[in-house]
C-alpha cells in the first residue's frame, strides 16, 4: 500500500491530457482548493462519480474527562465528512463484494464484535442511504476494465487475491455479482448462523473450519475497535488466510458447511488452492485437486459431487464450488470410514481373543457337549496317554459299536485331566453293562476293570491346583522312600522326579507344601505320566 500525492495525480494528467507537469500540479491543487472553499461556503459539495463532502454542525454536549473523571463540556463545532459515491464504494469493497448482511437467528453469540458500530460508521450508513437514491451515472462496467486490467488485489492478502481471481474468472459484471449474491446469501447465512461451538471434532483446526471462523475472528478482535490501520489490515489478512478463504471461496459453499469438516483434509486442499493462486488458478487446477480428492475416497464421493453439482447449476458455477463442497463432504465421509475401520479392527481382535480362550478351554476338556467326531480324533491322539489295557479296551469298545455315550465317557476319562468324574464313569460302566450283550459285557468288564484301577486313584487334581494344571498325571506308585536327615520334600522330589515336581509328591503323600520331614519317614514317590496336551 502506497501513499499517493498531488504529483502522482498530476502525472496522470500529464500522460492523459498532455498537460505539463507544472500545469497539472496547479490544476490538482486548484481542484481541491475549490472543494475546500465551496464546502466551507455551501456546506455540501458533490463531485459526480466520486462522492459528497459535507460540513456538519455538531451541538455542544456533556462528556467526561477520561483522565480526571470530571465532567467536561464539548463545545458545539463543525466537522467535515465525506461520503463516497456508490460506484466508488463498490469498487473499493470489491474484494468483499460477495458478502451480504444476514439475519441472525437467536442464540448466536458474537461477544467480541462491536455491536452497534462506531459513531463514524453510523453516520456513514445514514448518508449512504441518500446516496443510493441518486442515479448511478457511471455504470460499474466503466470502472471494470481498469480494475481487471491490473488484476492486482486490493491488499497483499491471499484472501483478496483469491477472491479477485475467482471473480475475474467468472467474468465479473455487476449483474453477475448480483446473481451470485442471491445464492450466496443463503449460503452465507447457513455458514454464519452455524454455532461455532458445535463443530469441535476437529482438534486444533479451528482456523480452517468455516464454522470456526467466528472464533478466529474473536481472536482478531483483540485490540481492534472496528477500524484497522494498515498494518492491522495486513496482519488480519494473514491470520485469517485460511478462514477467509473458506469464507470467500464460495460463499458458494453450501449446506456442506453444516457438516463436519475434517481438519487435515480441508487444510491440505486449501493449501493446494492457495498455492496455485499466485498466478493462474485455473479451472483445470481445481479439477485436478478435485480428482485427487475423489480418488482417495472412492466412489461415494463421486455421488456426493454429482448431487451437489446438480444443485449448483442454478448458481453460476465456479469450479471452486465443487471443490470445497466435495472436499468437505469427502472429509466427513473419510472421517466416518476411518472410524468404521478402527471399530471393525477392535471387534475382530476381541472376537479372536475370545475364540482363542474358548479353544483353550475346549482343549482342557471341560466341555462335554462335543460332537463324537471330534471326540474320536482326540481319542486317537491321546492314545499314547493310555495304559495298554485302556487302549485295548477302547478298541474293543469301538468294535462293539459304541454308543455315543460310551465314546463321550471315554473322552471324559481321558481328556479331563486329573478330573476323572468318578460318578459318571460308574454310570457309564453301568450303562455299558446294561445295554451291551454278553460279549460286550465281558469287554466292558475288562474296560471297567481298567477303569476301576484308575478309579482307585484319588482325585489329585481336585486336591491341588498345581496337579490339576500340571503337565503330569499321577498314575500310581513308583516306590517308597525313607527320609534321611537333612532332606526335604523338595530335594527328594528333585532327585526322583526332577525340578519343580514337589507338588506331586506333596499331593500323593497328603503333605502340605514345605513340610519338614523327619528322618525315617516314609515318602511315596508317585508314578507320573505326561498329559501330552498339545494336539
Amino acid at each position: 500500500m502506497q501513499r499517493k500525492t498531488v504529483e502522482d495525480i498530476a502525472g496522470v494528467l500529464v500522460s492523459r491530457s498532455g498537460l505539463s507537469q507544472e500545469d497539472a500540479i496547479s490544476f490538482v491543487n486548484a481542484l481541491f482548493d475549490t472543494v475546500r472553499r465551496g464546502l466551507e461556503r455551501d456546506k455540501v459539495l458533490k463531485i459526480k462519480g466520486f462522492g459528497t463532502f459535507k460540513i456538519i454542525s455538531v451541538e455542544a454536549r456533556k462528556s467526561v474527562n477520561v483522565n480526571t473523571g470530571e465532567a467536561v463540556i464539548i463545545n458545539g463545532h463543525e466537522k467535515i465528512t465525506f461520503t463516497p459515491d456508490s460506484t466508488v464504494k463498490d469498487l473499493v469493497n470489491k474484494p468483499f463484494s460477495q458478502f451480504e448482511t444476514v439475519i441472525l437467528n437467536d442464540g448466536v453469540e458474537f461477544e467480541d464484535t462491536n455491536i452497534g458500530g462506531t459513531l463514524e460508521e453510523s453516520a456513514y450508513n445514514d448518508d449512504s442511504v441518500s446516496d443510493e437514491n441518486e442515479p448511478v451515472e457511471s455504470p460499474v462496467l466503466d470502472k471494470g476494465p481498469s480494475s481487471e486490467a491490473d488484476g492486482r488485489p486490493l491488499f497483499d492478502l491471499p484472501v483478496a487475491q483469491d477472491y479477485l481471481l475467482v471473480t475475474e474468472r467468472g467474468q465479473v459484471s455487476s449483474e453477475h455479482v448480483l446473481g451470485e449474491d442471491t445464492v450466496s446469501k443463503t449460503e452465507v447465512e447457513e455458514m454464519r448462523t452455524f454455532p461455532a461451538a458445535s463443530i469441535d471434532n476437529v482438534e486444533g483446526r479451528m482456523e480452517e473450519d468455516i464454522c470456526g471462523e467466528t472464533e478466529n475472528k474473536a481472536g482478531l478482535y483483540d485490540g481492534s475497535h472496528g477500524e484497522l490501520q494498515e498494518s492491522d489490515i495486513e496482519s488480519y489478512g494473514i491470520n485469517t488466510e485460511s478462514s477467509e478463504k473458506e469464507v470467500l471461496l464460495p460463499e458458494t459453499e453450501t449446506t456442506v458447511s453444516e457438516d463436519n469438516i475434517a481438519g487435515d483434509y480441508s487444510y491440505t486442499v486449501q493449501q493446494d488452492l492457495h498455492e496455485t493462486t499466485d498466478g493462474q488458478q485455473t479451472c483445470e487446477d481445481n479439477g485436478v485437486s478435485e480428482a485427487v480428492v475423489t480418488d482417495s475416497y472412492g466412489k461415494s464421493d463421486g455421488v456426493a459431487v454429482q448431487t451437489e453439482a446438480v444443485s449448483d447449476e442454478e448458481s453460476e458455477d465456479i469450479s471452486d464450488d465443487k471443490d470445497s463442497k466435495k472436499k468437505s463432504d469427502d472429509e466427513r465421509f473419510g472421517l466416518w470410514v476411518t472410524l468404521t475401520w478402527i471399530f471393525v479392527t477392535l471387534v475382530l481382535m476381541a472376537v479372536s481373543a475370545f475364540g482363542g480362550y474358548l479353544y483353550r478351554m475346549y482343549e482342557v476338556g471341560g466341555n462335554m457337549n462335543i460332537v463324537s467326531a471330534d471326540v474320536r480324533i482326540s481319542e486317537d491322539e491321546s492314545d499314547a496317554d493310555m495304559d495298554k489295557e485302556s487302549r485295548s479296551s477302547d478298541a474293543a469298545r469301538r468294535k462293539t459299536g459304541p454308543d455315543s455315550i460310551k465314546a463321550i465317557n471315554t473322552v471324559v476319562r481321558k481328556d479331563t485331566l486329573a478330573k476323572p468324574v468318578i460318578a459318571e464313569k460308574t454310570t457309564a460302566v453301568a450303562d455299558n453293562n446294561q445295554t451291551a450283550d454278553k460279549k460286550s459285557e465281558t469287554v466292558d468288564k475288562r474296560s471297567a476293570d481298567a477303569e476301576n484301577k484308575q478309579e482307585t486313584m484319588p482325585d489329585y487334581g481336585s486336591m491341588d491346583i498345581r496337579v490339576r494344571t500340571g503337565a503330569y498325571n499321577i498314575v500310581g506308585l513308583n516306590q517308597v522312600y525313607t527320609v534321611k536327615s537333612g532332606e526335604s520334600i523338595e530335594s527328594i522330589s528333585k532327585r526322583f522326579l526332577g525340578e519343580g515336581m514337589e507338588c506331586y509328591v506333596e499331593v500323593y503323600n497328603g503333605l502340605k507344601p514345605n513340610t519338614k520331614l523327619t528322618p525315617g519317614q516314609k515318602i511315596n514317590i508317585p508314578k507320573l505320566k505326561w498329559k501330552k496336551r498339545r494336539n
Binding site: 481542484l31 472543494v35 467535515i80 452465507v188
Partner: protein
C-alpha cells in the same frame, strides 16, 4: 454546491473550458479510485487524506424490528481532513 457549479468554479480558476475541466476532474477521480482499489491512500496537502479502511464484521440490531443482523466485513473509503482545517472548523466555526 452541485457538480456543475463545482466544475465551473474550477474552470474559472484554472482557465480551462468547462468541458475540459470536467474531463480532467474525471481523470483525477479515476486515478484516485484506482489507487483505492489497490489499497493505496491519497494525500492532498492542505486538504486531507483519503484512505481505505477495513471494517470488521459486526452485529447490528434493526431498531424497528429488533432483528439481529450480521454485517459482513467490508472495505470503506475514509476521508480525514488535514488537521489545520479541521481545527479551524472546530474552533472558529462553532455556533
Amino acid at each position: 454546491m452541485n457538480n456543475k457549479d463545482f466544475i465551473s468554479d474550477i474552470s474559472s480558476v484554472t482557465g480551462y473550458t468547462v468541458a475540459d475541466t470536467q474531463k480532467m476532474v474525471n481523470m483525477v477521480i479515476d486515478y484516485m479510485t484506482d489507487n483505492f482499489q489497490d489499497g493505496n491512500a491519497v494525500t492532498i496537502p492542505n486538504f486531507g487524506t483519503f484512505d481505505v479502511k477495513k471494517k470488521l464484521e459486526r452485529v447490528m440490531v434493526n431498531p424497528s424490528t429488533q432483528q439481529r443482523m450480521l454485517v459482513p466485513p467490508k472495505l470503506v473509503l475514509n476521508f480525514k481532513p488535514v488537521v489545520s482545517w479541521k481545527d479551524k472548523l472546530k474552533n472558529g466555526g462553532g455556533r
